[in-house]
Symmetry: C2
């Protein structure tokens, strides 16, 4: 079943989701496979942000906190994100950064665990979890006299014992693209009395998520990857209704107060998820994020996240098959699980040698993925990472990316790629 480029163009022509791509402003000559790091620019964002700046801020000034609804932006945009991750209206708010929201929910989870199981002293997470999650957990573990224990996906079931207070996982691993079964892992955790905190950074807008269906306890996620909210966009935070009114979190700023505008001297948390707000809403950034989230909601009449997921799997299946076929002479083991149920919306290729240079050569050809260095072990090899966001990536883009990859490897042009290691934000 060797596919040609023409076949891929035909797949695009028949794709019912293809019109969604017109929502974005994509640069000429770029094949962008890095939406798992920074989503692309929606066409609506520029005009909307200009309107917020010129009319709402410039003309409305302080009055716009009410007249333009600035003060309810965290809830309004939060409800939209909630539709993508199985949260009910009023259960999720947009605020702060992913790291800070993790601090809030992990603090809350540890407080609950301390009441329910005061003897438990372990936060369990995955060794290859995104570092900022581990750093925040280390800080809270130190504060609470606990230990952060790191495990692997394979060892997880075994390590999920009755000494674990909280299990903190990123649903889709940022390196490998491996996805946990949220409902099943949550059930295993609950069976031993452990609370779950899920980081949806690589899930929200990428794969179907059903937080309530999975009976998850807490979740957070990122606004600037698959949600297309722009660089450093605000993040989001969710707590299951059974927890939302318990235990205020420690970042007790005025926007999480029950009555922020009575200017009481004593903190009293707002009902529900609004107590997870802290400072004044970032109006410009949240307005941009809303445009990004709207690009996903535009898929609802076309089947929503289920339809996007089906296309995402077709794209990643195609990429894996094409790499195996057309880069067969090169050692590029697929680090992302073959099973659909274990795969997010990206594919990572192990590239034991010269991976950084290979990616630089690809970028020079206009194919933008990214490189993630490993730790030198077989468990964590150097990776070439490619994100497939079905809102705007086409089948022909997959084909062309593999053409470029095969050319870079066959020709050895990666040897010419500049070796100036640079920062990159996951």
């Amino acid at each position: 079943m060797t596919l040609t480029r023409q076949d891929c163009l035909a797949l695009d022509a028949a794709d019912p989701l293809a019109p969604l791509r017109a929502q974005f402003q994509l640069p000429e000559g770029v094949n962008y496979l890095d939406g798992n790091s920074l989503g692309v620019l929606p066409r609506s964002t520029g005009q909307r942000v200009a309107e917020v700046i010129q009319q709402e801020w410039g003309e409305g000034l302080i009055r716009s906190w009410n007249s333009a609804g600035w003060i309810t932006l965290p809830q309004r945009v939060g409800d939209k994100v909630g539709r993508l991750v199985g949260a009910q209206p009023g259960e999720l708010v947009v605020a702060d950064s992913t790291s800070i929201n993790l601090y809030k929910v992990l603090s809350a989870a540890l407080s609950i665990a301390r009441v329910n199981h005061p003897e438990r002293k372990v936060i369990l997470s995955e060794r290859s979890n995104f570092p900022t999650d581990l750093y925040i957990a280390q800080s809270l573990a130190a504060q609470h006299g606990m230990t952060l224990k790191l495990t692997t996906a394979e060892q997880l079931a075994q390590d999920l014992s009755q000494d674990v207070a909280v299990l903190m996982l990123t649903h889709v691993n940022y390196r490998s693209g491996r996805m946990f079964d949220m409902a099943s892992v949550t059930a295993q955790a609950h069976a031993v009395g452990t609370l779950t905190v899920w980081d949806l950074a690589h899930s929200a807008g990428a794969v179907p998520v059903d937080l309530n269906g999975a009976q998850a306890d807490f979740a957070i996620g990122c606004g600037y990857k698959y949600l297309n909210g722009g660089p450093g966009a605000p993040a989001f935070v969710w707590a299951h209704a059974r927890h939302a009114d318990r235990f205020w979190q420690p970042l007790s700023g005025w926007m999480g107060h029950a009555h922020p505008f009575t200017f009481d001297t004593q903190y009293a948390p707002a009902a529900g998820i609004s107590r997870y707000l802290c400072g004044t809403p970032a109006v410009l950034a949240m307005s941009a994020l809303e445009c990004g989230v709207d690009t996903l909601l535009a898929a609802e009449p076309l089947g929503g996240m289920a339809a996007l997921r089906a296309k995402s799997l077709q794209l990643t299946d195609l990429f894996i098959a094409q790499v195996r076929e057309r880069c067969a002479g090169h050692a590029l083991p697929v680090a992302t699980p073959p099973a659909h149920s274990e795969r997010g919306s990206q594919v990572s290729l192990a590239c034991p040698e010269h991976g950084y240079a290979v990616m630089q050569a690809l970028i020079a050809r206009g194919v933008i993925g990214d490189f993630r260095a490993g730790d030198g072990t077989a468990a964590e090899p150097d990776l070439l990472r490619f994100g497939f966001t079905p809102l705007y990536v086409r089948f022909v883009d997959v084909y062309d990316a593999v053409t470029a990859l095969a050319t870079v490897l066959d020709s050895g042009e990666w040897r010419e790629a500049r070796f100036n290691q640079k920062a990159a934000v996951t």
Copy 2:
């Protein structure tokens, strides 16, 4: 020395700072005296943010973290803010919200105090401090087994005893506009071994601040008031060099790591103030903030903060004199200190009756100040609050505002003002 409107126009014509007003896009028919709550829109902001959205994000995509310098925005904009508050380059960063930055520095200060004076169990602050500061302090006091003690400006010297671990004050009070002498209060605190945390929300860009000169320990501040950064703009954080490398703060996100892009599993704080960063920088919001800060730096060739301060005092002196003269038949005691050394850049008038309606009637006339309810005591009366930002407020604006206030009071038209209490963000 009764001044006429013509006299005020003459003062404006002779004002060497008058050209700075052209930096802003001010709505027609609005006399804006609320820049202490939300600064106005710089003319440069719309174009700069559009450029960041269209070119840096839309075209540059992930590459802009390096090529557009996104990754160093917290430091670059931070250095600019530093010039306004007496911080050296590299000592101040822009990040997160004021509330969250307070959590960071107060945590650090309490950690230092625990080492130096483990027996001290009191955080001292002002009863009329802005509530979010008190809420954050309550949270940390609970965590550290300490007490938040509230005092008044008058009682401060007496309450600043050897049981106080940290003194946390807002430099210019948001209600009264009263300003502390930072150097003197800091010296008093240090004399009893107490660390100081200063909230510069109503100071940065409003009055000269010299953090290093005052030997202050920690400071934070707001981006959306006198810095004109836009609604919910990022805030800033500073630590004196003698503290910056001690005690990492608990919001240990990856941007505060010594090497964020090596993706280590173990947190290691960056050197200096960068360890007070947490999540990914909010690029759109920080770019808007930079435009706002630049409007203040534009005053440097004209005398900088000292010149702005001189004009600010002229404006507030004029307002107070005009109110006393032209509203003499109404009870409007000035709640802001008469002494220049104790006055910020705002004037608050106690308005024991119908203050909310009076402000609504003023706003209906295009004079935008705001109303802050008191607690019913003589110490905290209902206030009409007027901010005078010398970058764009003219002497004739002061005159016209008092004309409107006198008219509203004399005519009783405030009785018609709608009584729908609404939110307002300080």
